[in-house]
């Protein structure tokens, strides 16, 4: 499993997932059984499909949390209730400093000086997202994620009508952007990425009112609708990679269970980062139960969409305790 951990890191940085070299005995046994009882298997699959309920449990919870968190910022300012002051880049929750990890990184690299409050806020948020799942930030908090998710539906509808098609990019681009934006911060002494960050722009617009910068966000959305599905989150955003790194340490993740899976691939179709679900392809799962890699945003769309409950949220350690 140690090799798999590094493998998952490499996949997050852009490498394409490959067939696993080692498949455990137990997993091989299940792979074999699924082939041997093909007719039964297909019948069972059909049965599950026929009885599938359309559910949006996790999506609805997530949207509620995302909207609540962002409105808490807005109303803290408008109504002066002072619960959560600031914006997503940095804030104070009832007085405690919270500082976005990527914004903090950019400021530290550009300014090359860290004051105590900056350190405290960054450390707090680091621990918070280690506990909550790293890229959980993306799908549960980031306002651009929600907007992009809605425009993604439009993109998919246009794809269905064959008016547009999805153009993929190499996922390694995001790693390159992460490095380049970090280097630019060091070399120029400016937080170059913040000028482009739709997360910061949207968060500030929600709190301090609309700005011309929303035009840039609109451009990104148009690009995603007509040219490339979820391009910003998938191929560009260094914030996602920063939180992805944090997520490698996190106990909160989605876990795949080979025994429950009919390999229909619905989960990969709804997933923002389908490379983390490579093990659901028939014959690829190296173990009976496989935790999904750190690039997963823990959005829960796959959990909602799986007709047979093969993907579930799990907190490592907690499940063993209970």
């Amino acid at each position: 499993m140690k090799g798999r951990f590094l493998d998952q890191l490499r996949i997050m940085l852009g490498r394409a997932p490959a067939k696993p070299e080692h498949i455990s005995e137990a997993a091989q046994e299940i792979h074999r059984m699924k082939r041997m009882t093909k007719a039964d298997f297909e019948a069972m699959k059909q049965h599950v499909r026929d009885h599938q309920l359309e559910k949006h449990t996790w999506r609805n919870r997530r949207w509620a949390v995302l909207i609540f968190a962002n409105l808490l910022f807005t109303f803290s300012f408008w109504l002066d209730i002072q619960m959560l002051e600031g914006a997503l880049t940095a804030s104070r929750f009832v007085g405690f400093h919270l500082i976005d990890l990527n914004s903090a990184l950019q400021v530290m690299l550009a300014h090359k000086h860290i004051i105590v409050n900056l350190f405290i806020g960054t450390a707090t948020v680091f621990l918070l997202w280690v506990a909550l799942g790293g890229r959980t930030f993306c799908s549960w908090i980031c306002p651009y994620h929600l907007v992009a998710e809605l425009f993604e539906k439009l993109h998919l509808r246009l794809v269905e009508k064959k008016w547009v098609s999805d153009h993929t990019f190499h996922r390694g681009a995001r790693t390159v952007f992460w490095v380049i934006f970090s280097l630019l911060a060091v070399v120029t002494g400016y937080t170059v990425f913040e000028t482009l960050s739709p997360t910061g722009i949207l968060s500030r617009a929600l709190i301090y009112g609309p700005s011309l910068a929303l035009g840039w966000v609109a451009l990104l959305l148009v690009f995603e609708v007509v040219y490339s599905r979820r391009a910003w989150c998938r191929y560009v955003c260094p914030i996602g990679l920063t939180y992805g790194m944090v997520g490698t340490l996190s106990p909160v993740r989605v876990v795949y269970d080979l025994r429950q899976c009919f390999h229909e691939g619905d989960c990969r179709k709804v997933c923002l980062v389908p490379h983390v679900l490579d093990m659901v392809i028939k014959g690829r799962s190296p173990e009976v139960k496989v935790p999904v890699g750190p690039d997963c945003t823990r959005c829960g769309l796959c959990v909602d969409t799986c007709p047979s409950g093969a993907l579930k949220f799990e907190v490592k350690g907690l499940n063993e305790l209970l």
């Binding site: 803290s76 880049t89 914004s103 900056l118 190499h170 170059v192 390999h263």
Partner: protein, 291 residues
Amino acid sequence: MSDDSDTRPPPPAAAGARAPRSGHRAQQARREFIRTAVLSCGMIGAGLLGFLPVVQAGEKRLRPPGALDESDFLSSCIKCGQCVQVCPVQAIHLGDITDGFGIGVPFIAAREQACDFSCDAVQCILACPTGALTYHKPDFLPVRDGAPLAHAPTLKAKAQDPEPTINLTERIGLARLARPEACLAMQGKGFQGPARGPAFKGEMRYMDVDRWKPIPVADHPYERDLCDLCVTECPIADAIRLEPEPSADGTRRARPVVQEQCVGCGVCEMICPAEPVAIVVDARKTWEGEA
């Protein structure tokens, strides 16, 4: 609907088609690579466009009190707007994408709403999480000549308090009588009514009204035989005074003279009833001796 292509050997028909398919794949990969290269250059280029407004910045923006020097300020500010939220007179605004790297960075448009220190404690500095606004500059940052104040500025509003000064070591700008010919005092004129007209939205704290609640300047009309608003409304002690100005016809005239204790808060610019404004604050200007 199935992802299950991996476990079975390819059907015989597909075997023959393998070579062209791999050619197709290679072409796809090549196209993806080119697209990705274009995307990368485009994004980095878009990011670097942020340089333009910074380099061009002909019109320097007034930053909130305690701001580091401009380039340090832009790099250390985390663009969160906590300073905006604590300001009792809403003097602070955030830069837009037209400011390039200055996006989300706070500034003060003094003519519309100056900082009158009605928070008493320079709350914006207290709110700043990164030290972009700071009471004391860290040692490794340079201090420009003429930027430090000779001594802690006394806040007129706090003159009776045990601690009458505010915690500010450097000025954010310096007031300048930019259009002496427009200055009412220089013309020997007085002033009656609301300083900036009844529609002006700017606010100020008036100690004789309410120490803790700033009110609109429009609700506080003045009556002066010789206009001296920039001097009387200045929140800082010994920052500006009125000097008699000789006149040919013997009428009483005066000139506002900026003193070394001027911190550059911009209240004089906001309150000046002349249109166009006679006295302005030059952002980040340093003291070079009395003009």
